[in-house]
């Protein structure tokens, strides 16, 4: 099975987020970048599928050279090869079109993404990719079984789950549940050494038309200090009269 895992290079969950002076974008000073957590569940699922069915795993990222350590980490965890499309993405449709152009020229059985990236929280690229490729797509995917060319996938819906069946190739927006947290792998020394000799190809971008424009970024207003109350009656009173939350 030929699996593609699309990877985003994002600030670590615990990173303090600051924006540049003009508010045009993230100030990456001192920020540690990681594989997008949602993508990590998808990557681990790809490893499980490869172990069960054989095949090869390609990881793909649209980004500048600063994102290569993230791809190397994916190789160290077990992907076979990496491709970086050399562009600094400005919006989701640009990324989705770059991915589409790459995928259309290959023959992947399965395209795994994370449900969303934890930087721009768009939850756009996987669904766009499915639509651009005219391939079936399952979002918020928490279970996936492959049997020959048939896929059975379960996605979270509001308040429950929905299960779908379809034919490969399939595009998936994955999250926890696809594999469990305990299944996530940390690169070991052997993995890190092997990753150095695995291929990491750089491809030039083919698209240049963004559909949206980020104007500015600000941090939300700081919360005022917590109001500690001594009794539940006081709490109910404040929630009703002050916060108007009940």
């Amino acid at each position: 099975m030929n699996i593609l895992v699309c990877i985003s290079h994002v600030p670590d969950t615990t990173a303090k987020i600051n924006f540049d002076a003009a508010g045009k974008g993230l100030d990456s000073t001192g920020v540690q970048f990681v594989i997008n957590p949602y993508d990590e569940f998808s990557l681990t699922k790809a490893l499980h599928l490869k172990e069960a069915h054989g095949g090869s795993i390609t990881v793909l990222n649209v980004g500048g050279s600063e994102t290569e350590p993230t791809l190397r980490k994916a190789l160290a965890i077990g992907a076979d090869q990496a491709i970086r499309i050399n562009a600094t993405p400005t919006d989701a449709i640009t990324v989705a079109k770059e991915l589409k152009n790459h995928i259309a020229a290959q023959s992947y059985d399965l395209i795994l993404c994370g449900q969303e990236s934890i930087d721009y929280n768009g939850q756009q690229v996987p669904a766009m990719l499915g639509a651009l490729l005219n391939l079936p797509f399952v979002n918020a995917c928490v279970d996936l079984t492959i049997d020959g060319s048939q896929a059975t996938a379960t996605g979270e819906i509001d308040g429950g789950h929905e299960t779908y069946s379809g034919t490969l190739p399939l595009v998936v927006g994955g999250k926890k549940g696809l594999v469990e947290e305990k299944d996530l792998r940390i690169p070991n020394m052997r993995g890190i050494m092997t990753a150095r000799s695995k291929p990491l190809a750089v491809a030039e971008p083919t698209e240049n038309g963004a559909a949206t424009q980020a104007v500015k970024f600000v941090k939300p207003a700081a919360k005022s200090a917590v109001k500690l109350v001594d009794s539940v009656d006081e709490l109910v009173h404040l929630l009703h009269n002050e916060a108007k939350a009940i």
């Binding site: 957590p37 559909a211 970024f217 709490l235």
Partner: protein, 313 residues
């Protein structure tokens, strides 16, 4: 031309987020000096009620079962649209990007404001797991907005409300084989009040009081990640970065320390109440109100106080 709004139903009944979507479309249409066209399922009960929120024209059609098919059907209307509004429900979050790809649209998801300008359409959206607010211009073709449910509010107004049927083809690339939804419970992503508990509860057998508080408040129940990881509560209740992100008016966190991954899923809540024995719990820094105390004492008292309050209302 008009603002087109996709109106989702659940078992033929409109979702609350759907009324909010029509209200969003109405605000936008007023700014753009145009009308509101609502698109909904032929099976939806009483489509005329959408006029209450500002729908001028209500088109019913036989909707596809999957987001992709639905996106194709909406794309058939794109030429008539000044803009398109879709509520950010789980279904809507899959429909909107597919539609943007098919109709060559310009999309904002996770949107938390109505447009501040319409030339080009400019909105605010959450980014960096609620640690940032992005102002974005939908400068390309056909602006499409998917908003966070419960972030805009429902406004009653008056629309013309003419109902007619409409036909457009949508292809489902997948077959839906099973659908399970917990019945009689408030769905977490669209709940106005959420009661959430963590390891401070000490064991799954102690959740009855959490369920009781939720029932009194008409709230959804939720939990922290460790609690779903050890299996005290189902994964579908896990709120946080890798779980569900919520945006209620009131989030009550009981016995949850407030790890940054948890805060990423709840910090968009309008009011946060924290009950914890540990005064140093990081959650107090993100809270509006706090009670330092033992959940086993505080929660039963809170149930009684809330019940008394509700009885007076």
């Amino acid at each position: 031309m008009s603002i087109i709004v996709f109106v989702e139903d659940w078992n033929n009944v409109f979702k609350k987020a759907s009324f909010e979507a029509v209200s969003y479309a109405k605000s936008w249409a007023d700014l753009a000096g145009t009308s509101v066209t609502a698109i909904t399922s032929t099976h939806a009960q009483d489509p005329g009620t959408l006029a209450t929120y500002g729908a001028d024209r209500i088109l019913t059609l036989s909707l596809s079962a999957t987001p992709f098919g639905t996106a194709q059907q909406l794309a058939a209307m794109a030429e008539e649209a000044t803009g398109i509004v879709i509520a950010g429900t789980s279904f809507g979050r899959s429909v909107a990007p597919a539609l943007a790809a098919l109709a060559n649209g310009s999309l904002s998801t996770n949107t938390t404001s109505i447009p501040s300008s319409i030339a080009p359409v400019t909105v605010e959206r959450g980014a960096f797991s609620s640690k940032g607010i992005e102002t974005i211009e939908l400068s390309g073709n056909l602006p499409i907005v998917s908003f966070v449910p419960n972030s805009i509010g429902i406004v009653e107004t008056h629309g013309i409300g003419a109902v007619s049927s409409f036909d457009a083809a949508g292809t489902d690339l997948l077959t839906v084989t099973d659908k399970t939804v917990a019945s009689g419970k408030v769905a977490l992503p669209e709940a106005e009040v959420v009661v959430s508990a963590g390891r401070g509860l000490k064991g799954p057998e102690n959740w009855a009081m959490i369920e009781e508080l939720a029932t009194v408040l008409g709230a959804a129940t939720a939990c922290s990640k460790p609690v779903s990881d050890i299996g005290w509560r189902p994964h579908s209740e896990h709120v946080g970065q890798t779980g569900i992100q919520v945006n209620p008016n009131l989030y009550i966190a009981i016995g949850i320390s407030g790890a940054i991954q948890h805060l990423a899923g709840v910090s968009a809540s309008k009011t946060i109440v924290v009950v914890n024995t540990d005064t140093e719990a990081p959650f107090f820094k993100a809270a509006d109100y706090g009670i330092v105390g033992d959940a086993f004492e505080v929660v039963p008292q809170l149930v009684n106080a809330m019940r008394a309050f509700k009885a007076e209302q």
